[in-house]
Point group: C3
Chain length 315, copies 3
Amino acid sequence: MKKFTAYKDVSQAEDLVALAKELKQHPFQHQEFGKNKTLGLVFLNPSLRTRLSTQKAAFNLGMNVMVLNLDKDSWSLELEDGTVMNQNSQEHIKDAAAVISQYCDIVGIRTFPDLKDREADYSEQLLQKFIKYAQVPIVSLESATRHPLQSLADLLTIEEHKAKAKPKVVLSWAPHPKALPQAVANSFIEWIKESDVELVVCNPEGMDLAPEFIKDVTVLHNQEEALKEADFVYAKNWSSYENYGEILAGHENWRITADKMQLTNKAKFMHCLPVRRNVVVTDEVLDSEQSLIYQQAENRTYAAQAVLLKLLGHE
Amino acid sequence: MKKFTAYKDVSQAEDLVALAKELKQHPFQHQEFGKNKTLGLVFLNPSLRTRLSTQKAAFNLGMNVMVLNLDKDSWSLELEDGTVMNQNSQEHIKDAAAVISQYCDIVGIRTFPDLKDREADYSEQLLQKFIKYAQVPIVSLESATRHPLQSLADLLTIEEHKAKAKPKVVLSWAPHPKALPQAVANSFIEWIKESDVELVVCNPEGMDLAPEFIKDVTVLHNQEEALKEADFVYAKNWSSYENYGEILAGHENWRITADKMQLTNKAKFMHCLPVRRNVVVTDEVLDSEQSLIYQQAENRTYAAQAVLLKLLGHE
Amino acid sequence: MKKFTAYKDVSQAEDLVALAKELKQHPFQHQEFGKNKTLGLVFLNPSLRTRLSTQKAAFNLGMNVMVLNLDKDSWSLELEDGTVMNQNSQEHIKDAAAVISQYCDIVGIRTFPDLKDREADYSEQLLQKFIKYAQVPIVSLESATRHPLQSLADLLTIEEHKAKAKPKVVLSWAPHPKALPQAVANSFIEWIKESDVELVVCNPEGMDLAPEFIKDVTVLHNQEEALKEADFVYAKNWSSYENYGEILAGHENWRITADKMQLTNKAKFMHCLPVRRNVVVTDEVLDSEQSLIYQQAENRTYAAQAVLLKLLGHE
């Protein structure tokens, strides 16, 4: 594995899930891989789970960690090539990436989309330029269109909690007052659709995700129909892909409630967090026995640890 | 010891002081307790001494440390239960606490009072909710009403510098241009009043601290009378408890000066820092041989180290 | 070595360069010096290279590291002695320095000039006061007038890439839209002029650096003349020393271009970064085979590591 930014970077996703599961049992057994190695974590956006779980994963492997809040601690970045940099940007991304990778054995980077220019966001320009100019393996800590560390943790969580060989997994759009990226949803689909599950995505009309992600995936516009006999319900808001970045108002009835969970096969409930309680999903569901939200959070450590270990050369 | 937020969390304060004293002599002797353990430090407010001394304490024990400036690096918190979170707060404290504790063996948290709603501040709502939902031991890095790591360091400092079995210790209110919490004063009283000292608190009329802290404590409104024959003078400003959060103006003459120190029994001078020089106390006193301000700061490391070691299971 | 803030703090610069070169080959060989030692990095200004390379250097030596963004994480500092601190500053530098050094074995500090009061900047008041009150060795992470870790890395880079015994090294002023410190240029001259090179500084008239730095140095006001037969070209902007802090406009033709590099002896190109591309120097030069900008950045680690190792007591 040379980098970890999308499903296609991984040769065998099941092997990575299995490795994460093993690391959860024996977290400190591979410190010979991390000794004298340094992980750099670069944030251009806020982070709680990713920030802490990835550090913890590195500590478990015996690595050193440096955190750089690039938006606050350092210089503003220029993304365009050939620009005469006489305005506000102080350092070109090609120089920042090349320099940061002088000091790190692996670099993680978080960069959100601006949700204004779809083509720019979906070309993943910042992440791709960073990869191009860095000289070490790059781990996405969530990029404009994907959040693969979250998806890997989600796969591990489903693997741990499934009660049948081929569970039904429903990803449901949910309401939210702010414009959010499509990254978590895109990424979850990209990873889970290759697993041995029955995947159903449901969202209001006009809120379909990008064709590259939902190709060959069952997408329903009727939430109740989708939830029937579900074994796992994953709720997540995203802003519109079609009317790029727009918020869909007036769909509060898409909120996941205990009544809706009654339609399912006593489904487990999942969300990547942070979650706006009683907007996306009710307290009753989040705080129920069926909720796996903290298990997902816990599994972030072992997902990150498996990825770091692979990038450090573990077979 | 399950947590460290107030005097009552500790079974034998003298034992903790003795442990801190021992760690100061042999700081690196217990690294088997900290190996592969992670301390998370969560700040909702500025910090210098606490931030650095607690990290240093953890390093001395061989622990890993992660720092989260929750107010800047992450998401804004919701404190109320049952809220429909469709406004500004992005993550509920119950989720933040549960998640952060997935990645840490011990979590330290700093949360200042807003000094507007006395009942809310004195119920320690943020700290208590964090404790309720966290799944690991919590250390207060200063909360709305207490600063116990400071108090433990202060006890160690008095223990090291007392010249008689039962010294007279005077805690004196001092002037300040901004509204400050009562936490350091409350906490100092809570800890020192159980020690073998003669404790006197002095403050202007109307500036008495909360009854729960000054019950059974000698409180004088005449500073000169209080200072007589003192062996230790601890100066600290606090805003009003009665007229909650108000600044008391026009009492510049409560500033500690060399002349006032002449009233004492060559008393040692103490302050928790940061201190506004020549407002709270004059340079002459702060920079004198009698001043223990840097010794107090140094002892913060060993106070924190003793607390962390206890929480890691040291008997 | 007691501190590292200027050339004069070092007894033998060549020995330090040689140590840095050796550490680059064997970075992890001296961890017995760093074990249980803590480096504190204090930033009052932005930093990328210095922040990461100095952490990496400390990790290579087995040290623990704590980073304090003093401008954001903590309290605002008072620099003047004797002030009645009833305004905005919350902590005196003498207290901050004394306290921070309680928790660290070595402290690094970054403090930029304000470029308004030349005398204040050139007296290095903040750095000097910090040193005066700290009780441990201090490393400058760039101060008002010098950036010695950069200069040491630059010396190492020149040593590695020189093709003749006494190369011609040209430091050229270059255009920039903002007022920048003179620190990198001052410091480069201070270090390189003692080496076995032919040093030429060139800048527009009125942009001469401080006499203490350019005394006995060849300073030309004609860039083309200066560049002739150069083996190394180091480009850097600085604001005016004479009209202190002023930007020199209308000198875009001082930008380093491929054409200008033709005047040289196939010179290597150097810049400390961050660089405003196509303002200071063209992409063509920066991205050419002759460019050493990333090698300079890489060498920051080993320069810092040599300095830390010396301060830890290595002979």
